[in-house]
Symmetry: C3
Subunit: 643 residues, 3 copies
């Protein structure tokens, strides 16, 4: 794994560049990401380019051996461009125009802006495409950040109508597919279809789902404009993009397939604060991040990436500026996070950013240097982890025997129709992941339809839409399977299947969901150390009720190698089910101490102590210590080589 850093030469006096490049190299960094917000400096006026500064910056960095990851600046169109085509701005769900003044101020559907993006990308690729210092290209920046995938602009509406026509062929087919006879919502032409926002009460969920699919497709085609140009004009370079964490508004599996490697931006503390973790976790892990956040996203994006090639393009190095509260990481965490990425197979970990900017929106976001160029605490950890990486050498593959199946489509369904507050496919998957990881298991997170041969246990945490092909694939799978609630409960057009849930999965598990209910917090069926809450499917099945609450309600059914989890995978329940399934799959498990996690990668076992106290390695974890100690410090890492 290489180390990298995000750098903005345009923010600094030229006389700092050389020293910066040297200090980066001294810390073990070999990749520098630049350029992705610099449009106003590359093209200060329409058509008038200023390449000199970038030429020079690249030359300086290259002189110190750095490979450049060059970003296209399309996340920040300059003011003159926006003023030329103000209708390129997106609109929010309430209809308000989302104005210039920060970033990501564009609608993915605007043709004029797409042409401008092609133009600037082409100009950059023509100038730098064959520059030997250019190691890779990054398209745009964090698609979807700040809720920018869904736009309610006129441009989006027009594009949606065209997309619908392509999908459905005739408007009668659309009406039938969506069930528009309900509430007289039938259309006479595609032009009549509006976006699903601002309706009196909720719009048809099939309407929403189409809009979600369309919106995701717009991201993909927007990105393809750039990747096509870059591949043609800069052959041999990786084209990547940097995804964010827990963002689901576009299909990352699809994006991953059109890139050479999928990057993502890892901010464990910010994510902990801003996403729906428990208050207890938010306190206990305020300085470390809940121990499965980064790991889950590593495994998710590895599963999205073509050939499994993935990078951490931005790694949190200290306090950030954008969460409600922004604590400093525990000493050691920057190193720990880096080694966790390595353990999961990252090709790159790139820190965001080199030097803390003293101005503008992110001035409270730490870097490896302080604004006064003195080292920030993270720099020493980077230097240390660079040595760690060198010592370990290549780790080999991190084979997993457990697969969690996740589709972005699933989350679109549960967001569109929660039916019970909190019943989200994404967080169901996270709960399953955490349960497996607490058992010391390596996990892959895969898309429906990915090969299953390697696995002994496959989990569908909550997959409302199941294709027939995938059901057939599962039918042929002989390992253990856990099917979570709501799975197979919807057709591809957001209806209830003719044979009811679990729909096509009835060929895998013989049973019918006769009714589903959602339960408010506190409304539970108590079991032995777990309970049924949030969601409950009622089944008509001959399968054995394997886990039954005190009042006789079944939480989990089993028939041969298949478990149907009828209740929501709340932590205690999914832990119990996972334990049983892992045992039945013959997987070796290690009950990890609180806050401690493990990942096996090739010959190495990486053990991470996310807790704030020193903890001994569990006896079950043996091997020769290559890094660290059997008493693992808070925020510490131990790496053992198999005996």
């Amino acid at each position: 794994m290489r180390l990298g850093v995000c750098y903005y030469p345009e923010h600094w006096p030229r006389d700092l560049w050389d020293d910066d490049a040297r200090r980066m190299a001294d810390a073990g960094i070999t990749r520098v990401r630049i350029g992705e917000f610099a449009w106003s400096r590359l093209e200060p006026q329409p058509g008038q380019f200023d390449w000199q500064w970038l030429d020079d910056a690249i030359a300086v960095l290259a002189r110190h051996g750095h490979g450049i990851i060059l970003g296209t600046p399309t996340a920040t169109p300059p003011k003159w461009l926006v003023d030329r085509m103000p209708d390129m701005l997106a609109c929010d769900e309430g209809g308000a125009v989302r104005k210039f003044g920060s970033r990501r101020h564009y609608c993915f559907s605007h043709d004029g802006y797409r042409q401008e993006c092609a133009r600037i990308t082409m100009a950059m690729a023509q100038r730098y495409g064959h520059n030997p210092a250019i190691a890779a290209w990054q398209t745009d920046n964090e698609y979807g950040c700040h809720d920018t995938v869904l736009s309610y602009s006129d441009a989006a509406r027009e594009a949606f109508c065209i997309w619908l026509a392509a999908r459905y062929g005739t408007v009668a087919a659309l009406n039938a597919a969506w069930g528009n006879v309900f509430w007289s919502m039938e259309y006479a032409s595609f032009d009549e279809v509006d976006l699903p926002n601002l309706t009196v009460t909720e719009a048809n969920p099939a309407h929403w789902l189409a809009f979600r699919r369309f919106s995701s497709d717009q991201v993909l085609s927007f990105d393809r404009i750039q990747t096509d140009i870059l591949r043609e004009l800069s052959p041999g370079r990786d084209v990547v993009h940097n995804a964010m964490g827990f963002f689901t508004d576009y299909d990352h599996h699809a994006l991953g397939q059109q890139l050479d490697a999928l990057g993502w931006d890892s901010y464990p503390l910010g994510f902990l604060e801003m996403f729906p973790f428990s208050a207890a976790d938010k306190l206990a892990y305020a300085r470390q991040g809940q121990p499965d956040i980064a790991a889950f996203l590593h495994d998710l994006y590895r599963g999205c990436a073509r050939n499994g090639r993935w990078w951490v393009l931005e790694q949190q190095p200290g306090p950030v500026n954008w969460a409600r509260h922004n604590p400093a990481p525990l000493p050691g965490m920057v190193r720990l996070w880096t080694l966790e990425a390595m353990a999961h197979g990252a090709e790159l970990t790139s820190y965001f950013r080199w030097r803390q900017a003293p101005f503008a929106q992110e001035q409270m976001h730490a870097g490896l240097l302080r604004p006064d160029s003195a080292p920030a605490p993270a720099l020493a950890e980077v230097t240390q982890v660079s040595a760690d990486i060198a010592r370990l050498g290549p780790t080999g593959e991190g084979a997993a025997r457990v697969a969690i199946v996740f589709a972005y489509l699933s989350e679109w369904v549960t967001q569109t129709q929660p039916q019970g507050e909190g019943a989200s496919a994404l967080w169901a998957a996270f709960n399953c992941y955490r349960a497996a990881r607490k058992l010391g298991l390596n996990v892959d997170i895969i898309r429906p339809g990915a090969p299953l041969d390697a696995y002994g246990l496959v989990i569908l945490p909550c997959q409302p839409i199941v294709e027939d092909n995938f059901a057939r694939q599962l039918q042929g799978f002989t390992g253990q399977i856990i099917i979570g609630p709501r799975s197979g409960s919807k057709t591809d057009e957001f209806s209830i299947p003719d044979n009811l849930a679990p729909g096509p999965l009835q060929s895998v598990f013989s049973g019918v969901v006769t009714a589903s209910e959602s339960l408010r917090p506190g409304l539970v069926h108590q079991g032995q150390g777990w309970d049924i809450g949030l969601w409950l499917d009622h089944l008509d099945t001959q399968a054995t009720a394997e886990l039954v609450a005190d009042d006789g309600t079944a939480a989990c059914y089993r028939a041969e190698n298949i478990r149907y989890l009828a209740a929501w995978p709340k932590p205690a329940l999914i832990a119990e089910v996972m334990k049983r399934a892992a045992r039945d799959a013959g997987l070796e498990v290690v009950r990890m101490p609180k806050g401690m996690r493990m990942r096996q990668s090739g010959n190495y076992r990486f053990v991470f102590n996310y807790s704030a106290a020193a903890q001994p390695l569990p006896d079950a974890i043996s091997g020769e210590l290559v890094i660290g100690d059997r008493l693992v410090a808070p925020g510490g890492v131990a790496v053992l080589a198999a005996g």
Copy 2:
């Protein structure tokens, strides 16, 4: 009482219709409600009607003996109509247009849409008005659902100006009535008056009250267009509408007077979840509904209905789709709810809906059948309750000796000027109702001015505006009276009366409210088992302070047969006051066990167990068991005939 069901033949293949109609009849159903969302199928293109499918559906249903309740489809104007007059759409309080794509997408004040409603109603009435299968007509659907009474559109504004001119005659009269001299809000003409939304701080409460009255009147005149046509073209049929629960944006008393019977839609679990019940009640009754929800609304709408004729047009049969959480009812609840409606005098209970729709917005809303046509749990309960009803025969009148007075106007006042968060006239009435019902009392909920002869106890929970006539009527009433806080505190134009609160009621109760205060949760004057909280009127009166808090603050005054409740009717306080008033009125009370409720109807005493545990009938409830047992099952019912 008849049983009915809501049915959407347009949703299903024709070959299901006959079997559906037969199975309905087998379950004891004799009324089928259809048509109310079918505009796009009745008139697929402007002026081109397709009656055939509806002709056939009616014929099939009639063949199985069903009387049809035919709905006008005006809650769901088709897209082509909206596109012809886009200004028919309502606007929300923030000014955003409420778009097509769900239902109720119209402004009550739009003349063009009113003409379209007249046209489609006339077309339907001409075709089916004399069809012997048509038993009744339902106008539109759930006026006010999704906050649709108050519209801030241009059409509403124009109509409001006209309405104001009619009410006030001169703009000087309006200025004087509203006190517009305050803050220089005076108008020079009616045209200058805008809607009261989007003002810098709150608009004049008199302005709001006028807008509330206007908006309610618009619903009434909108409805009258249809009722007039239907009465003329379909003589002898009942014309009804289906109200919702706890909706107060239009005057249901007034609507009830222009209909033949008032229907309402009973969703006890959804209402419990979405309305301000305590967290404890939301948990304890998650599967049953708090025991007074349906009963309160039965009694409220019976009091609204002309000649007391009222129907349950939609009865929840299982989980719904629209609450935050949607649990399944406890087994037996569908039967219990049906018998509760019977006990309160309903002429019809109609289940929503026959078969769960697998598509569109309500696909997670249960029916009597599952989407695959297999029986859902409710169907057996319907069949059972149909037999129960047959066994009981006609029950006779449910005479009440307690009347709670409620005016929609009261709630408009407290919503416009809460003065203390939560001080709502509606929920004050509910609290009083619950207290009476816990004493086993039959209760009528009546409008101010309704005859009082039958009652021994009359309660005004919180009635800010009191007409002189009503005060005179109360003066002549010799039974017990409870006057709640804020009563008589406002003139008809939302001012403080010259003689201060309780204004005209000073002729009934000799005292003056010298000051009122509202109290944050936790700020209480502690009494003996009750406390003073939320609201407190300070009185200058010679009446006896009957209930006095430990610190000497009076909660309730008494003078002869009148009690003035100076503090908010919080549950424990109103229970104490109600107990005393019932005693003084000589009413026989039965302290009902937790979760158990009773309603006497003619010769029968219906006892309902809303709790989740079996409970014995209290000894005080005697009589011969016609249905059930003295140990009443959870969700069970016992009916006793007077000895």
Copy 3:
């Protein structure tokens, strides 16, 4: 100190005026504030003035010896004016027009409206400027109330561009100052700069800060139009304005400098309910107001006022109408609040309002009279306090040895960039004030740069932007200094200083803030009776760590006479620091009992009992009792003359 009252002759029949004026005088009132909402009565139609009623009202009041405080009515432009220039209305942050129908419906930046304000002010000044009854003028009413300082209208945008040009000279200078290279936010001309609302994610904080400064400046120039006219046309009269409590959207120091005296409107109960006080305080002081609310604002506005001349222009006399809950004050509180104002040096306390209006928005706001003209409870307290004041005579100056430095600019910075939820400069200052006052200390609240000679202890609770001059002034100060967190952390253009925080204060305190972090509630470093929470600066310094948490984290450093408080001034921590600093400053402290407060004024010590129980004076408070007793009643006051 004089007593006054707010009166609205236009609300009442003329035959009440004389009696009203007489009763005011009987209660000890000598000032009457009138006119400030009466535009529609002064100019019912454009250009047609009706002065007669105001002539008469002034004459009647003057006949009873009252000096008039005459308000310009520009907070309530009449409808005809708004209809002539609808673009004078402000827009909210979402872009919605803030309509006519209440008050403050104008944008400070609208030139047309400014001209209209000049016109009406001139007309009033011409008519009454030399009238001997006119004692003072009040401009407009409560600038900023209802969030009206920040407007997002076209008028505001245009004025902002002009303001920017004046501030920065060239757009290149603006781009450099704001760091617009970040995210390609660079502008090519001032015209391109939009307001910072509705951006995709947050706008540049420097952009926001400029907009905050601009918006504040607009208030100042708006006000100056009137003050200039009034000074010219009505010489010898005080020109004042009435500020509100805890409003920070414009610079009250600057406004104070352009007025003769600064007024403010004191609503202790409403403020307690609506501002972020603890739930415990909201309950304990619901009827009294937290004991430091009025005192803090007295001292703040005294510090803002030119020559320290300040008035209470509106004093809460009973329940108000605008808080979430509106309890009645404890008996005695109106007197207590009045004497607290006197103790802090007010020249006037004027009650709002004379008679409770029975109509319009404030009908639930108590007055000194009830709507029926009977005395409300406050009238007797006013009469009593009038006698108290007479008995005390002039009190002399209330010299303070403690100064808290507060700049409105500080609050704009922390609001723009909280970085940790709740980290507000205003509330940091309040916490420091409360801690000092609990030690019985007189406190001045001063602007940065005010003379420091009088003080033994100076506190900068949280002052992100520090001018070099002020740093130099502090360098020369030999008393004790407490520097709070975030101080000196920003340049004047919202960047991090080159030498990092505390920036210019490094010349005062030798240390560098190497990192800052914010901590969610519950995430603390526990100390001895205090803890570190919410915010923590990490320092590189040779200063002594004076307060260290159990885990070794330093909360407060000390070097000679300077303390750097690295952690947020939460109550327990700042209490500990304040105690030490006061001791080191040689200040005599008196640990005040819970709910009891003291203020020394000249020869008098005023002691106030804000608690709901009688409490004895602490032994340390000696002197001859002039008012009250050593056992101070709840809501009671004791005044002692130094022995």
